[in-house]
Subunit: 239 residues, 2 copies
């Protein structure tokens, strides 16, 4: 499984993904699920993926091949708007699913895959989309300033409580890390290391793209401080 | 859907269930999912149920009919041990599934159902079991002092952080209420009112069996205090 979360805040976008994949409990591996494209000041795009790994890798490869071959039908780097970017991702998803869905189904294997794609193009606003297995997609609005894919339930309560569009970027980063921390503690199929990306509004350039390893001191300190704060808060609750 | 949680603490057992059922989002209703049997000082048994409501109600009816008819094969009230109690529940589940599973499957309907059963008989210890759709069951041990059925993921992180066998009953009650509160906030298919039961070790008698209505002041105060404490804790986290 997987857990990825994306925030669309007034101050910009924040993405966090884990790196664990598993085909059954006895076949666990580590794969990057976060991908970036950047032309500083012009465009910055990030994707995180969940579901069938062969499917999501094939989608990413198709998108990258289109860029490498300057596909005349357009690419992530020629798109004029973020919705055109999402459309490219959806189209690639639809093509890949068209090739494999039925064969996978015949083998009782799951072709479900989802991709969150966000970013900003010069002259546009930061936008955040969720592309489904069918290639269709939704966009985060101010009513729902975050999206999640994969094992989303453990880490949802903290987001529901603290995230609004007005949340500052620095708090957004803390919130996604704590949301991930709750998920890591409660679900074996989500695992370190993590990939974090931060895209401040109006810059079209990532301010942070960072891999957080299992022994990362800052993450461990945050995780422990949060555990302690939760226990303290619990102790202080009225009976 | 449903969320029910049971704790097996050194000081006794705590159970909490919601009351929402739904057959699709447009068919939502309220049904009790907690059931008790008590002979004060002799035996106290509690069950909470999740899954196909017709299945779980049929299981409970079978168990109650066996009591009412003094079934010579034994009943919840004639059982000598809690594992015999769990066996009765499992057998009833197996019989009901035997009758309906295939017909439901043919209609693409889900027959999955789970029942958590706990209690204490005079001379025995408090025990907590989880009965699966197949009628087989597991028992909570000190390694895993809580069990959950239904929408269990939202409310798991708080339990993972605070519950150990040594947790006092009063803290156990707070923890299950907060675990439920997180679930209620994040999942529409779990809803008020709640049913709470507390069975202190060694008494074979419930110290509390209470319905918590949507307008319950204590629950609302706890919920608000917890939200505030979480937001405060979040604000205090290191960047």
């Amino acid at each position: 499984m997987t857990y990825c979360v994306g925030l669309k805040l007034d101050q910009g976008l924040v993405f966090l993904s884990d790196t664990r994949t598993n085909a059954g409990l006895d076949n666990v591996a580590r794969f990057r699920k976060m991908f970036h494209w950047q032309e500083p000041g012009e465009r910055a795009i990030v994707m995180v993926t969940a579901g069938n790994l062969a499917i999501t890798q094939a989608v990413i490869n198709r998108l990258q091949d289109a860029i490498d071959n300057s596909d005349p039908d357009g690419t992530l780097l020629s798109a004029k708007t973020m919705s055109e970017v999402a459309q490219h991702v959806g189209d690639a998803m639809q093509q890949v699913q068209g090739k494999y869905h039925q064969t996978l189904e015949q083998r009782n294997e799951n072709s479900t895959a989802t991709i969150m794609v966000g970013g900003q193009l010069k002259g546009g606003k930061p936008r955040l989309f969720l592309v489904y297995s069918a290639g269709n997609f939704i966009e985060a609005t101010e009513d729902t300033p975050y999206l999640q894919i994969g094992e989303h339930k453990y880490g949802k309560p903290i987001l529901d409580r603290v995230i609004t569009p007005a949340t500052p970027l620095s708090d957004g980063i803390k919130a996604v890390l704590l949301s991930m921390d709750s998920t890591l503690r409660s679900n074996l199929s989500v695992g370190m290391p993590l990939d974090l990306a931060v895209l401040p509004a109006g810059k079209c350039q990532f301010s942070m793209r960072r891999r957080i390893e299992a022994d990362d001191e800052h993450f461990r300190a945050l995780s422990e401080a949060w555990s302690q704060a939760l226990r303290d808060a619990f102790t202080d609750m009225p009976d």
